[in-house]
Symmetry: C2
Subunit: 231 residues, 2 copies
Amino acid sequence: MRTRPIPEATVARLPIYFRSLLDLAESTGATTVSSEELARMAGVNAAKVRKDLSYLGSYGTRGVGYDVEYLLYQISRELGLTQDWPVALVGAGNLGRALASYKGFAERGFMIAAIFDIDESVVGNEVGGMTVRHLDELKEVVVEDGVSIGIIAVPPLAAQEVAERLVDAGVKSILNFAPAVVNVAPNVTVRKVDLSNELQILSFYQQRTQAIATAREANRLLRLQAPRKPL
Amino acid sequence: MRTRPIPEATVARLPIYFRSLLDLAESTGATTVSSEELARMAGVNAAKVRKDLSYLGSYGTRGVGYDVEYLLYQISRELGLTQDWPVALVGAGNLGRALASYKGFAERGFMIAAIFDIDESVVGNEVGGMTVRHLDELKEVVVEDGVSIGIIAVPPLAAQEVAERLVDAGVKSILNFAPAVVNVAPNVTVRKVDLSNELQILSFYQQRTQAIATAREANRLLRLQAPRKPL
DNA sequence: GCAAGCTTGTGAGAACTTTCACAAGCGCGG
DNA sequence: CCGCGCTTGTGAAAGTTCTCACAAGCTTGC
């Protein structure tokens, strides 16, 4: 049994290490990697890499580094990537269709079991090699295919209802792309990806530096106009 | 001048409060809102809302709450949403096309100035009412339209080069959808959205609860087989 | 088999974030 | 104009995350 639980911040970085290690194995064929190098690839610092990996166990060798294959295996086991996860995708609009065709999911073992919509004019269409099904068939599919992860890609007003239907069908984890907060029972995990929020955060920092530049410029002009009195 | 800088964690929540307030104003027409109510809408707790808003200034009224309109204005000002931000979108694949058609960006003042690709068979196509331009025209557009935000929606191997070209063109903030770490000068802000990482994080927590359930089940079976000795 | 050179694993401290709890202050009713 | 009820704003405590720095320990070369 594990002594300490793995901190959330660490969990969020494991997929990054995982991809970095895959890249490394593929491109250089290196069999070991130091925390220093892994840190560079993952865009973090070496101490963080070591601390993070130490939560998984003592998988490194002092003086040498980490065995790439072994570490890959351990991380994939930790992340549950040793099995395939069928996923129910709800919403066949722009975003839903893009997600349905997104290769990155299948590469990590996340198979879209089915794509659902409620709009009769969309149901029956082909999307990413699948036929869009009506949302009413959700429970059926979830039970039959053992789906435990759902993706919400519907307009914000429909998000809460879709979330409830997913939970009711038996889904335990939800990835929500709709720009709306969804409330579910505490035993269901929800993660949110909000595209426009991200841009707003960027514009916050962008505007701040612009504001500073503007203030500096204003100061400069003021100084030119009315130079400070000498003492 | 501001005494304390606004913490990152708070900045990340401001867009959520902003949307919650918009929803509130639109649906109920309420003119004031308490931290309690805003917290419920945003999916956080009231103390956090108050602390967060206190970084912007003292905009509430004790015994009453916050004026919805005024707070909306203050947050939008803080986030830089009082101006429009032209955005350069690089990559006209599945994801790029979906992003180009995404209404949520324009709603918050993020206008796609142009969409770029390097694939000659894609350049010239119509996407979301725009013609895909060649990446070589990037700098021209960035300078002419005063673009300061770029979105990367290209395959992982191309991400670093695109980032460099964006920075070279004069972009100061980047939203990276490619599943790859990009390194840029420290005066450029990068935020990452990694769709498959999010699913991996979900599967971590999912698998953990499954593992616990399995262990519990195993224990149950063991107990049945070999019951504990009575004292 | 020992010393030199690396690199891990981890305590300890710093920094950041969240939560608590309550004084301060506003508005309403009498 | 006073007292009561409500809600903010915020110090202080608790919890989490990051960083530092170094002992522990492995490998290689001689």
